[in-house]
């Protein structure tokens, strides 16, 4: 399973390295979202800095929908999905591989957006490790749930419009937890402010990773 995970993740990341879709389209989209949030909140820096955690995570969520759609669409051409199914790779490994690849791209995106939040909104990070933990756990959850919903919508002609509607309410807890942990990190909050959110993110990750490992094979039959 682990070997298959690395194979699939390597394949997707190689495609990304050659096509640069995430880097040249998804990450700039995130930056555009940050700039638009700034326009919406006015030129004052105070509301921007206050809203920075939430705006960061909303930008991440919207960008993650694009990253997941990209991850689905690389399989939808040239019968790639059928090829992958015929390859004999463990479905659980395929799920983890695609999740890993999406997560790796989201981490790069979050670094870019994090810098954007600090530079554009004047957010001041006090507790750096809280940022790292929230982004790490949040990314795994987003990637796992996203890959599952991506597989569910893969065969649909309306997947571009349906995926955000299905996925975004489901990942709302990631937004809540991530935002609260970032708020604690920006105000130099004590870890106790972040602890329940930490548990929540772990639970979210565990649930969707486990679900994906179990049902990714059967779910492909619906595509």
């Amino acid at each position: 399973m682990w070997r298959d995970t690395l194979l699939v993740a390597g394949k997707d990341l190689r495609i990304e390295a050659r096509s640069r879709v995430a880097l040249s389209q998804v990450a700039p989209f995130g930056i555009v979202a940050l700039v638009l949030f700034a326009f919406a909140l006015g030129p004052d820096r105070a509301p921007m800095a206050k809203g920075a955690p939430g705006l960061f995570w909303v930008a991440v969520l919207f960008s993650s929908v694009l990253a997941i759609q990209r991850s689905v669409s690389v399989e939808s051409v040239d019968g790639a999905r059928d090829g992958l199914r015929l390859s004999g790779l463990d479905p659980a490994g395929q799920f983890l591989g695609k999740t890993l690849s999406v997560a790796a791209q989201l981490v790069v995106l979050e670094v870019v957006l994090g810098l954007g939040v600090v530079l554009l909104y004047g957010a001041n990070i006090e507790t750096f490790w809280l940022i790292v933990v929230s982004c790490g756990l949040g990314t795994i959850g987003l990637a796992a749930a996203g890959t599952l919903y991506g597989a569910l919508s893969a065969g649909l002609r309306v997947k571009e419009t349906l995926l955000p509607f299905l996925l975004l309410p489901v990942v709302a807890p990631v937004l809540l937890a991530g935002t609260r942990m970032w708020q604690a990190a920006l105000t130099g909050g004590t870890p106790s402010n972040g602890t329940p959110w930490f548990h929540l993110l772990i639970a979210f990750d565990a649930v969707y990773l486990a679900l994906g490992v179990v049902v990714y094979g059967p779910i492909q039959e619906t595509a």
Binding site: L152, S153, L162, F165, L176
Partner: protein, 269 residues
């Protein structure tokens, strides 16, 4: 493809009608008792009359309908119990549940405006209920995508499963969001803790009546779903038959001989 025609059986139709009638009578009785017989509350006055409807509607939507949908989806996914029966029942439960969920939010808002002063508050319960509504609207949107009944059933069952496991996580997240964010402020519904006499009976009757209404709507919606599938498969079969008869039928003859061919039939009448 299995087509469930038992929904048209006289016994099922009769039972559906009886349940519908009971629901109608129960609801009517609840309205009469709730609006005229029961006394107004000491604190809330006439507003308390919403208690006969709002919790009952919420019970149907949040527990009965969505719980049933989750259970049916699991039963469909389990290979031994796989049957389109569970899929249609889950679909019917979600559809009726969404209606009750909207009714929960509306009746809650109507109650919230005079008691709390706002139509909507970002309370944990309200937020969870709203997220639940969006999750199951997504389920219904997925169901509307045209597909073979088996494919649609499997896809929908997975979607219901993914949404259902999210429900406790959403619940805790908004609960903590609320409590860690700010203390309880406006949200202190002054429901009298003890409820007795005619009020308690009306409340109970409201629950029973709304549950019966749910069951009735569920049965009717299930029947419509089954008949839709039946119609879909029937149309395909009929089209296939037509095509086949076209190929196997007699070759068209010149116009002149067509009348002659019909003539003996007329004569034999």
């Amino acid at each position: 493809m299995t087509t469930d025609t038992s929904v048209q059986s006289p016994r099922v139709m009769w039972a559906t009608r009886v349940i519908g009638l009971l629901a109608l009578v129960g609801t009517g009785l609840t309205v009469w008792l709730g609006l005229w017989v029961t006394p107004p509350d000491k604190v809330q006055g006439d507003l308390v009359r919403l208690v006969y409807i709002h919790p009952g509607v919420a019970w149907v939507a949040l527990y009965l309908a969505f719980g049933l949908a989750a259970a049916c989806s699991l039963l469909y996914l389990w290979p031994r119990t796989r049957s389109l029966f569970w899929d249609r029942l889950a679909a019917a439960a979600v559809e009726v549940g969404v209606v009750f969920n909207v009714a929960t939010l509306i009746s809650g808002s109507v109650w919230g405006k005079p008691t709390w002063g706002v139509w909507w508050a970002w309370d944990a319960r309200l937020t969870s209920t709203a997220v639940l509504l969006v999750l199951f609207l997504g389920y219904l949107a997925l169901r509307r995508v045209p597909a073979e009944p088996e494919v649609r059933a499997k896809r929908s069952a997975f979607a219901a499963l993914f949404a259902a496991v999210d429900v406790p996580i959403v619940h805790f997240s908004v609960l903590w969001w609320k409590t860690l964010h700010q203390g309880a402020t406006v949200l202190n519904p002054n429901l009298s803790p003890t409820i007795h006499g005619s009020m308690a009976w009306t409340l109970l009757l409201g629950f029973v009546a709304l549950t019966l209404a749910f069951v009735w709507m569920l049965l009717v919606r299930y029947r419509i779903g089954a008949l839709e599938d039946f119609l879909g498969s029937g149309e395909l079969d009929m089209a296939l038959l037509e095509r086949q008869s076209e190929g196997a039928g007699p070759t068209p003859e010149p116009l002149g001989t067509a009348d002659d061919a019909r003539a003996p039939v007329k004569a034999s009448r």
